[in-house]
């Protein structure tokens, strides 16, 4: 406290208003200068390309026929939205997203509770549980592909005596993709939930215990409501991530099996395999809009909850 007063420039005492505004102005300028590089980079590499994507999506632009480029308005969107492929891929993406995120939420909560309450070996489970988080997604996907694919000599088909390659059948490909996602990202979910768990005061539990509440009741009535913000943040991040799923499906499908192609795959394939920038950009913009929509619903939901919580206290 004393240090702050002593550090203030001597001019501050007599001409308070002028001096403060000069200081404030200098502080503002410094603030902007320090933030400028980061902001410029972020805008240049996301805002500009997305606007460019919107512009491309309104054109017929195919790299194989560069001289046929022309403004065609919303035609690309009409093409995409009226194609079965988009809706099929959107369906695949949503199935993967819903299953993997809900399984992760349950397992992540169990893992977080284990990390929080373990009597011994807490460090050990924290460390090993973090390993999947750090593993390169492509490597994780390969681990699952090499285990399940008959063509790659996996042990699972041998173990289960399967006739068909599980990575050719649609439902089992879904299953392997969801397993791979859940394995890879449950630790992330668990860590976010763990930080929420740390916010739940122990004495509330003690008090409820004295009043005769069972462990189950304490979990549902105390832990969950207090953790709600952390749960929603974790769900938001994981849902958006799961919607963008690319690596896992790309590796599992081995580039040829399209049975569970996702919207990211569709966008990538149209853009970079078929080199149709116009059509591909339309898909990209639609993926972006879906992400915005998901984020919007969560933030509205999240905001409402936060306000409600503050009201209760």
């Amino acid at each position: 406290m004393a240090a702050t007063a002593a550090e203030a420039p001597p001019a501050a005492a007599p001409a308070k208003r002028g001096a403060i505004s000069a200081r404030t102005r200098a502080e503002r300028k410094l603030g902007w200068m320090l933030c400028a590089p980061a902001v410029i980079v972020m805008l240049a590499v996301t805002a500009y390309p997305i606007l460019y994507a919107v512009w491309l999506s309104l054109h017929r632009s195919d790299l194989r026929f560069p001289d046929k480029t022309a403004w065609i308005g919303l035609d690309n969107y009409v093409t995409v939205l009226s194609s079965q492929l988009w809706w099929k891929d959107l369906f695949h993406t949503i199935v993967l997203m819903v299953f993997s995120v809900s399984i992760e939420l349950v397992l992540g909560m169990l893992l977080a509770l284990a990390m929080h309450r373990a009597i011994f070996g807490r460090g050990l489970i924290r460390t090993t549980a973090l390993v999947p988080y750090g593993i390169v997604t492509v490597v994780a996907a390969f681990a699952w592909r090499l285990a399940f694919s008959k063509a790659d000599g996996g042990f699972v088909p041998v173990l289960l005596g399967l006739e068909k390659d599980p990575l050719i059948v649609t439902w089992s490909t879904y299953l392997v993709a969801i397993l791979a996602e859940v394995w890879k990202t449950t630790p992330f979910m668990a860590l976010l939930l763990l930080s929420g768990l740390a916010l739940v005061p122990d004495d509330l539990h003690e008090a409820a215990k004295v009043d005769g509440a069972t462990a189950w009741q304490r979990f549902w009535r105390i832990t969950i409501p207090l953790m709600r913000p952390a749960i929603l943040v974790a769900l938001l991040f994981r849902t958006l991530d799961a919607f963008r799923i690319f690596d896992t499906v790309q590796v599992l499908s081995n580039g040829s099996n399209r049975s569970i192609e996702t919207v990211s795959q569709l966008s990538y394939n149209t853009l970079l395999t078929r080199l149709n920038l116009g059509l591909g950009s339309a898909v990209s913009v639609l993926v972006f809009l879906c992400v915005l929509l998901i984020a919007f619903f969560y933030i509205k939901f999240l905001g409402a909850n936060l306000a409600q919580q503050r009201g209760e206290r």
Binding site: W32, L34, L130, G134, V139, D152, L194, S284
Partner: protein, 276 residues
């Protein structure tokens, strides 16, 4: 006494399940990587014949050694630049008062949610025009961008905890501003900066989609897309063993990081995501 023993047993079992579940896929990869080409497809969990041929074969392939070099270089440079830019911004956000602060945090949050696939097409087109396609810079720029939000959130959460009055106290004791910053603030800020660097490095090391779409040759291709284009020990063998060996090699740095910096990684992830 018996209840305690039962609880201990319960926890032991639960922890064993967690450890096995977390590590089993890696065990399987290690086992595959040690099999000989003849036994790689036998579906056995433990190799019948052990060999390091897969490892020596990938290190004799240009595609892998160059990809490994690219991965290390690109991830390291992206980390340094992203952490530097984010430190400046996070310092301003944590310590200075200026309008637009919330806007910057809001914009960062939006970018953190941004689907990379939405800008892959435009970047591909732009990078070809600008001559950035298939170069290190062509990957460093997107990695830097996509890790900046995480880095800014994490660092500003750490910086907010630093008792900045110490700086003035040191100056009162006769230190110059530079000395005060270097000797007092820097040691306090270093753990946060270091933690952020680990998270940024993991992101850049992990990326697949940008590396797949913005590179085409060994000039800039990183390991994740390179693994896909492997050949086996000889032209006529399946690349399974080689893929497994390469997968293990790229996993090693991450496992070492996790083992040494487990606490920091946990602190960084939770600080950035929840407190930010």
């Amino acid at each position: 006494m018996s209840i305690d023993r039962r609880r201990l047993f319960g926890w032991g079992t639960a922890e064993a399940v967690i450890v096995v579940a977390a590590l089993f896929p890696i065990m399987w990869l290690i086992s595959l990587s040690l099999k000989t080409p003849a036994t790689v497809g036998d579906g056995r969990l433990i190799p019948k014949e052990w060999s390091f041929d897969n490892y020596s074969s990938i290190f004799h392939q240009d595609i892998f050694t160059k990809a490994l070099r690219n991965s290390i270089g690109i991830a390291a440079i992206s980390t340094v630049i992203a952490v530097t830019l984010a430190s400046l911004a996070a310092y301003a956000i944590a310590r200075l008062d200026f309008p637009g602060k919330r806007l910057i945090l809001g914009a960062s949050l939006t970018i953190a949610m941004f689907p990379p696939v939405s800008i892959v097409g435009p970047l591909y087109d732009m990078w070809r025009t600008l001559g950035l396609y298939d170069t290190w810079a062509g990957l460093i720029i997107p990695y830097m961008t996509f890790t900046l939000p995480l880095a800014i959130f994490t660092l500003s959460a750490f910086f907010r905890e630093i008792p900045w009055e110490l700086e003035q106290a040191a100056q009162m004791d006769g230190a110059t501003p530079a000395q005060a910053f270097r000797k007092v603030i820097l040691p306090l800020a270093a753990p946060g900066v270091f933690t952020t660097a680990i998270l940024v490095f993991i992101y850049a090391w992990n990326d697949f989609i940008f590396a797949l779409s913005l590179t085409s040759t060994t000039r800039a291709q990183t390991v994740p897309p390179a693994i896909q284009s492997f050949t086996g020990v000889s032209q006529f063998t399946a690349p399974t063993g080689a893929i497994a060996a390469a997968a293990i090699i790229v996993t090693i740095p991450i496992v070492i990081m996790v083992l040494f910096f487990q606490r920091r990684i946990v602190a960084g992830l939770t600080a950035g995501a929840v407190k930010g």
